[in-house]
Symmetry: C2
Subunit: 493 residues, 2 copies
């Protein structure tokens, strides 16, 4: 199926490209293709022909880009190419580490206490100029691609790294059909004011340069629209999910992504995954298994998860020795000091609980630190309870991968602040991520749930997740853009 | 002028009463009347007759209440009485320190980082029960008062301590005319979800039991309404500032309070204030004066204010020795450890700047720690720049007291996140409280402002503040309630 029949070409812009290059010890450059629903979905949209523009993230990416003279042909034989932008290491650091991950991620995930953080100084303004410069490089590359590709072109701009691109591209090509999708939550209007004032306004105006803005949940779309009301010159119709800026109309749309169930099943069927599953099974023995799979990401709420498990064990001591908590954790953003500290705190909290409640033949919490997707898929099969308790999350893919790969009608404990909760909530057990008391009680409820209840919920989750494959996610976005195209042609006829 | 001509009586409920009692060393109990616009305004509304119900805050309050058999006559000869509720010390601690100041204040001022704080446990639920119990005691007292007072009665419930009172009172007296006024900011819907789920819902439902909800700014009203949309059974019309819950209609209204200009002028004219002013004047000498007046309150942003001043001095070294920063600071909520730490940090930051930039005959920052309103009024007269940079503030009264008492056409640096900014912003220099860079630059701009600009702004501020005396604030609330009364009578006729 061609997901974009109305478009002559598709041009995608995202910080990270679908393929990353590595220089091996023998000097050769090897390519590895990213997995996950977003890559699959966006690559699908590119089958009509087009370009995926991304930032060169590594030295090998940069070398490869230079070798290929800027445009790397798709490795799957389709009619699209990759274009990796070489920005200076200083610009990349300002754009990526400082602004994208240090400011925007923190703002949209409510990670400041306001009393001490954040503090903006001259360095902030310098980094912001770098963010602007990199966004401009993206916008220019997008405009160039459109010049050489069959029309009409659908521009699909991804995420908070590229918030300024829609407006910049609109100024270069006023008739461009542009969508922007936010994969994070979106800070509400009051919290967003902690960002430097001019930066906040430029970010809003930048996104409002698009025709369609996509979000994972209604809550994020509404936070964006409520913020946009404070932008001078903008007018927002909240009830219609629509904004107007200087005669330009912008639609807000909610299209939650899902996972690629078939791909997960394929991974689960791999012999090495089966072997790991067997290992986990032996280790688990007769115990019930609580599982969590997360990066050491500040938002993932690993600390309160361990504390809640401790509270559960103290209140229901009959479960001691009869349950095991497996935490598969992987490093994240180790270039930011907050993240390094957080990883240490998580390990210390697990050690504290083990020290306090463990016995000679029972370790309450087992932590494995490794970025290992196959191990996660192996463990998913075995959980009785999957704990997904982020303090806030744009969507959360673990809550979708788990129910697809699980084979025990395991129960999903899901934070009410995850974008996924808006879709899956009715078949999960909802938890307040800040509430250790509630999480402890819900572990008990999950373990005690009657089998028919568990089956009902597991089937419901699986059905909802499968009903919304990643290809639909991107098809929705293209359809939205196509409606804009038709309306625009009609009004100009 | 009778501010409440349509009502037979007015009943006010607030945590703190207008008079507080102290047992002196000689054993006598003395009364001291609170100052400030709220007390003046609400006392004015009581002239028609009625009761002010508050919590006994001290042992002397409790004794006085018992001595007076629960109802203390007004000391100003008017036809109202005070009624102080004796709640157990444990209930008071849970209601006041834990829930009101430890949870609600933190939520509405965005003081959590989410990664580590807040954490809810069994203690939270216990404290919440105490909050409920105290709110119920208030609601019962309000209902009792209405029984004995001339009808119709206007119920004016104040602030976040008493969020549950409107609904509780509505259940006891379905036809009661109830308003609730929030003196704080209001957290947006996403941030508010950090509160325990059931608590958040009860707080929303509690406030929605009122007929009219008052706020200091549109931003806070809209945050409340956006949160209310998530309450099961509630329907919100954002554009009309209106909510419906189970057939009951609730209006949101914005009535910013102001200060009592005449009272400030009276204080300024006191001989002891004149003497202090003279002292400050001599200390200041030929230097220009930057002033701040604040409690050691987490939201007041004292730390970044000092850092911004340091940045200013480094960038514009010609001002060294020619400017003095006077910080009049007073203790606040010392029962909460965060507040004690914050006070220490503020003093350390001032000492650091003085150590780094001070000379033998010039101390860059002078800090005085004392709760001394008269000293503040004396210093207000003399500032060239008044720094009011809270990270967030429901309204902010310093930004209104200062311009009334100032005699030098001093410039107001005002945080764009203070409720007062929505009204005074056009005559202030707006600052982003998190942005040290901008604040440093704005100090320079303020000091360099041409005299005619300063006069224009100072006059504008004075005019806006005087145009909105506290009596108007309360009259608006009574008028809103009266409209509800008329409409209700009409629909039932």
């Amino acid at each position: 199926m061609n997901p974009s029949p109305e478009f002559g070409s598709v041009v995608i812009a995202s910080n990270r490209g679908p393929v990353s290059f590595t220089r091996e010890q023998d000097g050769a450059i090897t390519a590895s293709r990213g997995s996950g629903g977003v890559v699959t979905a966006l690559t699908g949209a590119l089958q009509v022909g087009g370009t995926w523009i991304a930032a060169a993230m590594s030295d090998a990416d940069r070398e490869m880009t230079e070798l290929a003279d800027g445009r790397i042909p798709a490795d799957d034989g389709a009619a699209y190419s990759l274009r990796y932008l070489n920005v200076s290491p200083e610009d990349f650091d300002g754009y990526y580490n400082y602004v994208s991950n240090g400011i925007l991620w923190f703002a949209h995930h409510y990670l400041w206490d306001n009393v001490h953080t954040p503090v903006w100084d001259a360095g902030t303004y310098e980094a912001w100029e770098r963010y602007e410069r990199v966004n401009l490089a993206f916008a220019e590359a997008l405009a160039q691609e459109a010049e050489r590709l069959p029309q009409p072109t659908a521009f699909l701009v991804q995420d908070y790294h590229l918030s300024l691109v829609p407006k910049m591209l609109r100024e270069m090509k006023p008739d461009a059909l542009i969508s922007h999708f936010s994969h994070t939550p979106i800070a509400g209007p009051t919290y967003a004011r902690a960002m430097p004032t001019q930066m906040r306004r430029q970010l809003l105006a930048g996104m409002l340069g698009a025709d369609v803005l996509g979000f994972h949940s209604e809550a994020w779309a509404e936070n964006f629209l409520m913020s946009a009301r404070y932008l001078p010159g903008a007018r927002v119709e909240l009830g219609r999910y629509r904004a107007h800026v200087e005669g330009h109309e912008v639609l807000a749309r909610v299209h939650p992504l899902s996972v690629d169930a078939a791909a997960i099943k394929e991974t689960a069927a791999l012999p090495e995954v089966a072997a790991m599953r067997k290992e986990f099974e032996e280790w688990r023995g007769d115990a019930r298994l609580i599982l969590r799979v997360d990066r050491f990401e500040l938002t993932k709420n690993i600390l309160r998860g361990f504390t809640a498990y401790e509270t559960f064990l103290k209140r229901y001591p009959e479960w001691k020795g009869k349950v095991k908590f497996l935490a598969l954790l992987s490093p994240s953003r180790t270039e930011l000091p907050e993240y390094r500290t957080y990883a240490e705190e998580c390990l210390a909290e697990a050690a504290r609980v083990n020290e306090k409640l463990g016995t000679a033949d029972w370790e309450p919490i087992t932590v494995r630190v490794k970025d290992d997707y196959q191990a996660a898929v192996a463990a998913y099969a075995l959980y009785d309870v999957l704990m997904v308790n982020p303090v806030i999350d744009g969507l959360n893919l673990v809550s979708m991968e788990g129910p697809i790969a699980n084979r025990r009608h395991g129960v999903l404990l899901l934070s009410r602040n995850a974008g996924a909760y808006f879709r899956l909530g009715r078949y999960a057990l909802g938890i307040n991520p800040h509430d250790v008391e509630e999480q402890a009680e819900m572990i008990q409820v999950a373990l005690a749930l009657p089998e028919e209840q568990k089956i009902l919920r597991a089937k419901g989750l699986s059905r909802l997740i499968r009903a919304n494959p990643p290809s639909r996610w991107v098809a929705h976005q293209l359809r939205d853009l196509d409606k804009v195209r038709i309306r625009r042609a009609w009004f100009r006829a």
